[in-house]
Symmetry: C2
Amino acid sequence: MTTGQNHCDPLESLEKAGLQKTIQRIVVLRAVIRADRPITAAEIYEDLDVAERVNKVTVYRVLASLEEAGIVRGIPTVDGMNYYEMACSHNPLHAHFYCRYCRAMTCLGPLGEEICQNLYPSCRHEADALSVSITGLCNDCRRNKTKRKEEPL
Amino acid sequence: MTTGQNHCDPLESLEKAGLQKTIQRIVVLRAVIRADRPITAAEIYEDLDVAERVNKVTVYRVLASLEEAGIVRGIPTVDGMNYYEMACSHNPLHAHFYCRYCRAMTCLGPLGEEICQNLYPSCRHEADALSVSITGLCNDCRRNKTKRKEEPL
DNA sequence: CGATACTTGCAACTGAGTTGCAAATCGGGT
DNA sequence: ACCCGATTTGCAACTCAGTTGCAAGTATCG
Ligand SMILES: [Mn+2]
Ligand SMILES: [Mn+2]
Ligand SMILES: [Zn+2]
Ligand SMILES: [Zn+2]
C-alpha cells in the first residue's frame, strides 16, 4: 500500500546512494516510479519507449543495484518472477496480492505491529525479511475483463 | 510445523485421490514423506537411490499431480524454486523460514486465526492461498556449519 | 582534460521447468 | 489370464527468466 503518491526523485535517490547517475538507471527508476504497482524486469523492458532504449541485461543489473542500495524492493512470486516497487513509498512490511491469471501484483495494507511481533519471534534464526502474499483471482479477471496474459484460470 | 510425525501412507493417499499407484509416484511420495522439511524436485531427484530411478521430468509431473490432488503442497521461494511438503502432516496455514545461504526451508509455527482474519479481509479479491515466509540465515549457516550450496552469505 | 573506476551492450550461457511424442504400463471389463 | 482404451513414463528438444565474460563506452574527480 503506497504511502502517498510517489515523490522520490531518481537523481536524488541515486545521489544519496552513491550510485553513478546514468541514463539507464534513471530510465528504469522512472519506470518503477511511474507504475502504480510492483512490476517485473520484463514489463519495464517492454514498456520502454524507443527514446529510452535500455538493454534487457542492463534492466536486470540496474534493478539489482537499485535493490542493493535500498531504492527499490524486490518481491518474489509463486511463479518465480521478481516484481519491484519503490522502497521509499511503500511500507517495508505490507502484504501483496498476486493474480494467478493476469499475473498483476497489487499492494495490500501494511501488516500490523502485532502480526510481525507474532511472526518474527516464532523463528529462532537470523531473519532479515518477511514476506506475506495472497494468491488468487483479481476482480478484473474474475469478471473476465482482463486478457493480459494467457492460460491459467 | 509438522503435526506429529508423518503417518500418511503413499498407497492409501493415491487410492483416495483416485490416482494410479505407479512406482514413480510412490517413490516420489516416499521421498517427500522421508524429508523432515520441504524439499525441491531437484533434491528428490538427486537423492534417489539407483533402485528407484525416476526420470527428472517424471518427478516434476508426479509432484504436479500430487499437488493437484492435494496430497503435497507446493511452497514458492524467493529464488523461484518450488519446495514441497506433505499436505496431511502440515497445517495449511503456517509460516516458513528460508535460509538464503544453504537454501534449506523449514516450517515455522502455524499462523494464528487472528493473523489470517487480519490478512484475508484486507484484500477485496478472490483469494485462494496465503503464503508467509521469512528469509534469513539459519542457525547452522550462521555458525558456518553448513556448506551445502555455494555463494551468498 | 585525462586517468581511473564503474557501467553498458552483446552474445553465449545456465538451470528450472515444460512440451511433444512414441513406448510402456495400468486397470476395468471379458 | 487376456484385451484394449486411458494414463503415465522417458527421452530429447525446447522455453524463458536470469546470469556471466568481456570489450567498448561513460561517469566522476582531480
Ligand atoms: Mn508493495
Ligand atoms: Mn511447511
Ligand atoms: Zn488478474
Ligand atoms: Zn542455512
